[in-house]
Symmetry: C2
Subunit: 338 residues, 2 copies
């Protein structure tokens, strides 16, 4: 009986993003073709490095947001394909640069590009992808869409610099962490969704609605990601347990556990996070503290809040397949934590 429930559960989860995948399948074929095309270069190192990451099986959620938002708003042209590919390139470039900055060894369960080709290649191929992203976006000819996406690129970079410049600090408040989430994750989700109605020349209110949907979905997505990093049951979803911990990343579950803990608990978090002194058994202890302080469950509760805001953002639009698919993605992002 447990197995039956588990299978049903699995199916329900899959259906959360399956509807979007199915609706975008045709457009995504074009996006993927464009990605393969634009990653090509006479400099063989570029496609090698880029394809290592591109072929490693990300969900491509962000470009699908652009595609679905444009179609939902009645866009009949082809510009959304280039914008979607640009969004995915922007995301890939960020990952390449992030891994260098964080000194990460793994990405999506494989060796990070920097471990195979070095930091310099990762930085420069990231720059190449950003350049290609802007080229494709310029080709679409929408100054408004270009403005939204270049704003996002600036916000992402500014957020990274801010994080780098501020010493690692366990006293980080939830608000301060959410500010980082907004810069690093939510801003690209927001831009990816907003350019859909922009291409379709929809009014200010509809653009704001998609922007709000994307930003809140992105925030919920990141918070659940933070939980999955400590949640053993979710290991089968392709995420390594303890990556954030090993990199000393202060995420919301850690912020909550630190704030709610005893002096002894806080000394532990400061040692492993601020002083980067991590020993055998520390990850297990960290997980035990997160559970004791209800930090994982409450991070999901916070994610639910943002998910609810994302849903209300799209509420005014008439029912459609695309709207239903975009709403299911909200559930998918949150339910994958169970």
């Amino acid at each position: 009986m447990g197995v039956v429930v588990a299978l049903d559960e699995e199916k329900r989860r899959a259906s959360g993003v399956a509807a979007l995948v199915e609706l975008c399948a045709g457009d995504m074929r074009e996006v993927n073709r464009l990605i393969l095309d634009r990653v090509g270069s006479d400099v063989a190192l570029i496609p090698e490095v880029a394809n290592h990451l591109i072929s490693s099986g990300g969900k491509r959620l962000r470009p699908m947001l652009t595609l679905a938002a444009a179609r939902m708003c009645g866009y009949g042209g082809e510009g959304h394909v280039r914008l979607a590919a640009g969004v995915e390139f922007m995301h890939t470039a960020t990952l390449l640069h992030d891994d260098v900055v964080d000194g990460s060894e793994l990405r999506r369960g494989r060796l990070a590009a920097r471990m195979l080709w070095g930091n310099s290649a990762s930085v420069l191929v990231g720059d190449f992808l950003l350049g290609q992203a802007f080229k494709m976006m310029v080709e679409v000819g929408s100054l408004e869409a270009l403005g939204i996406l270049s704003d996002a690129a600036a916000v992402i970079a500014e957020g990274e610099v801010r994080q780098l410049a501020s010493a690692k600090n366990m006293a980080t408040t939830e608000d301060e962490y959410l500010y980082v989430v907004h810069a690093k994750t939510a801003s690209l989700f927001a831009a990816a969704a907003e350019v859909g109605p922009v291409l379709a020349a929809r009014d200010r209110g509809e653009r704001a609605a998609f922007r709000s949907y994307g930003a809140n979905l992105g925030t919920a997505f990141q918070l659940v990601d933070d939980v999955l990093d400590y949640d053993g049951d979710a290991a089968d979803l392709g995420k390594e347990i303890g990556d954030d911990f090993r990199e000393g990343k202060i995420t919301l579950p850690v912020v909550l556990s630190y704030r709610r803990g005893s002096d002894e608990d806080r000394a532990f978090w400061r040692r492993v996070m601020e002083q980067n002194d991590r020993r055998d058994g520390d990850l297990d202890h960290a997980i035990a503290l997160l559970r004791r302080h209800n930090a994982l469950a409450d991070t999901i509760a916070r994610a639910r809040h943002f998910g609810a805001v994302a849903r209300d953002a799209l509420a005014p639009f008439p029912d459609s397949e695309h709207k239903a698919a975009l709403l299911s993605v909200v559930d998918f992002c949150i339910e994958r934590a169970h």
Copy 2:
């Protein structure tokens, strides 16, 4: 039996803010003395207009935040009294100016100052109070506290101008509305709380914690206020039902009901809010729509989220009377909606 429950309920609610009132009683006497002193002027119109509002029985929650935060952080001086009085003057000035901008006829159940002395007097007495507020804050001699409070003053004013410049728009998203709440309400709560640890020379992390507490408490407070404006059961708490509605204010319950409603519902909201065409029976219809779309209950759910963030912001501080009182205020702000 029902009566017994109601009384218990009343007592519990009162205790939510009673602990803070009691802890701050001594300091608040000084604050009130200072307020009476600084509102004095040879120009008789100034104390007349100012006292009309000052004596009308606001909760003085904001100055109590400053007092309690300073004491909780071990501050032993007297500067917090002047800052608290300054915070209350800033708040009073905002109310005077708001009533002019909104054309409000009532404030706290009495005629607005502008109805008795005219718009010009309200504007100028507001300016006088702002000036006095800054004078008192300067006297304290903390450039940091002064910076925090003057930032808040600028954010409040910028938020008002933004609201004035943007046409009234039912397509406002929840995010956009929360931005307004942050500027108009949360920023002063945040500053009022943050200057406490600043006076006590506490570190950056503790200042950020109080700032986060204040901002999230202020947001929760405003969202519940928005609900009370449509919630008949709460009329005994000194708030008139339907004030926001009569002034065509777009608040979160209205945003949610509009987004979740039918085309017909949306036409109603646009007529009463955007076109300011309000007829007999419209308020009852509005309340029915808010209930039908669960907009009041979900606004309170959103407020609970911010309340939870406010509580976690103060979680790291050792237990104390002041901490307990500040946490009770969070509950009070949310529970008064029931």
